[in-house]
Amino acid sequence: MIRVKNLTKSYRERLAVDDISFAVGKGEIVGFLGPNGAGKTTTMRMLTGYLMPSCGEVWIGEYNMAAESLAGRRLVGYLPETAPLYTDMTIRGYLTYAARLRGLDRKRTKARIDEVVVTCGLADYVDVILGKLSRGYRQRVGLAQAIVHEPEVLILDEPTAGIDPIQVAQTKALITELGKDRTILLSTHILPDVSAICERVIIINKGRILAEDRIDNLSDTMKAGKRLRLTVDGPAEAVSEALSQIDLVLSVTFEKPHHYIDYSFDQEPQAAITRVMVEHGWTLLAMEPAGVGLEDIFLKLADDAGSIH
């Protein structure tokens, strides 16, 4: 459904995307993984017709985006990196606008909005002004506008960035659900995101593709256990004790002032951790990935690539 050939983009002299080619088949969920500045957003902007490539070609379905951009855009639902919200509109007004712009008639628009606000957990907020929503809800509305016209292709730019762990889990579940009958390309710089939802990953760094494979085939480095670093306002020992009771957690270590949680790459203990914190009345000040970082993986992959040549 998505085909990209020798795609290149330079902003004046800065090369942001450097001759990349890949394809995403119908019904696939593919992760587009890379650190900040790798060129993910730039690539997605070219896929969606927002930016013109300096070089190379993009097909969405059977449409070449250079020649038949409108037809191609009709197939796509796109969540940009920051949810594009008109701050003076209500959720319903905004989704209506989005649906109508993508060609739905009034009746279908109304029906789809009723569905989509439920899907995205917005049913109680349809008349709230977008400018008043919190970051997590803004992201949900962003996702809702991307799917309201039932596009065959979804392009999601960091759908899990900047939202809390429970919402991350909900978003991932929603994407998995959507992916059952859709083609999805989603970008992220967070490893657990892709390993949980995607069948395949494309790893990009400095505008170039470093690796592209099914999750289960990726090198051991990628599959290694993972770590979270927590900052908790609570009695250190009791916190360690409670955390180690969680099934998904392999081990807990305390190095003042952080607790480190080791867990397996295919698990997601974040929601359970948050729940434990709430139950005990402790404050979770921070929870972030630690340990086997993407940077390590990119370094290793870049190294591997280097040693081949």
Partner: protein, 238 residues
């Protein structure tokens, strides 16, 4: 057409939901109303025409247009919604025409509110209706051209203040070409005068519909809308 309707309706609704359109309309009405009334008083109510109002309105409309249009595209760029709009299956030219149409609707509504000046004249006097009709036609033309300049200015920046300043600069420049024309020698003076936003307007006030004037205002409108489309297209190249 469908897309233009959808976007224009949304723009018009945004205007109604924000204070900006009301504030500029109120200022416009207050100032033009003052000119209307003081002119009548100055002629001791012997000249029951819109002359006072029109002398002010032609120029006030430029200010009105610069402020009204500044948010149209610049705000979308700032909010990030431009990415939403430019990835929708909508042509760039449709976006520009729709934004323009939304602002023309506000202008029309505002001019409709001023119809109560001629109404007063009709009730209390015996005005010549021909020039009043042509004047309103002229106001729509000069207003439309000014709004087009504003749409263009809004398309080249994500800063609304910059957009208003650029629009104001272009509009005042085009307006005062008429003044400059008076000091320029022969042929040049005529060219400048033809290019001036101001110099085509008096004909309409006097009840004359000059094709050259219509062509001029429509050309300015088309030129700046075209430039706005080009500016959006250029933006797609990063």
């Amino acid at each position: 057409m469908r897309n233009i309707g959808i976007i224009a309706a949304k723009e018009f609704r945004s205007y109604l939901n924000a204070p900006m359109a009301y504030v500029v309309t109120a200022i416009f009405l207050a100032l033009s109303g003052t000119f209307f009334a003081t002119y009548l008083a100055a002629t001791n109510y012997s000249d029951t025409s819109l002359t006072g109002f029109l002398n002010a309105a032609g120029f006030l409309i430029l200010l009105f247009a610069a402020v009204l249009t500044m948010r149209l595209i610049a705000e979308e760029k700032k909010l990030g919604t431009f990415e939403f709009l430019l990835t929708a299956p909508v042509r760039d030219v449709e976006i520009v025409l729709a934004k323009f149409a939304g602002s023309v609707a506000v202008l029309t509504a505002m001019l409709a509110l001023t119809l109560y000046y001629p109404l007063l004249l009709i009730v209390f006097g015996d005005p010549d209706l021909g020039p009043i009709a042509t004047s309103y036609f002229g106001l729509l033309l000069i207003g439309g051209a000014s709004l087009a300049v504003g749409v263009f200015a809004s398309s080249i920046t994500s800063n609304q203040i910059v957009a208003a300043a650029v629009a104001g600069g272009i509009l005042f420049g085009l307006w005062f070409l008429g003044t400059a024309a008076r000091f320029a020698p022969g042929g040049l003076g005529e060219v400048l005068s033809y290019l001036s936003l101001a110099d085509h307007f008096p004909d309409f006030v006097h009840g004359i519909i000059d094709t050259r004037a219509i062509v001029y205002y429509l050309s300015v409108t088309a030129l700046f809308l075209f430039l706005a489309v080009r500016s959006i297209e250029t933006g797609r190249w990063g």
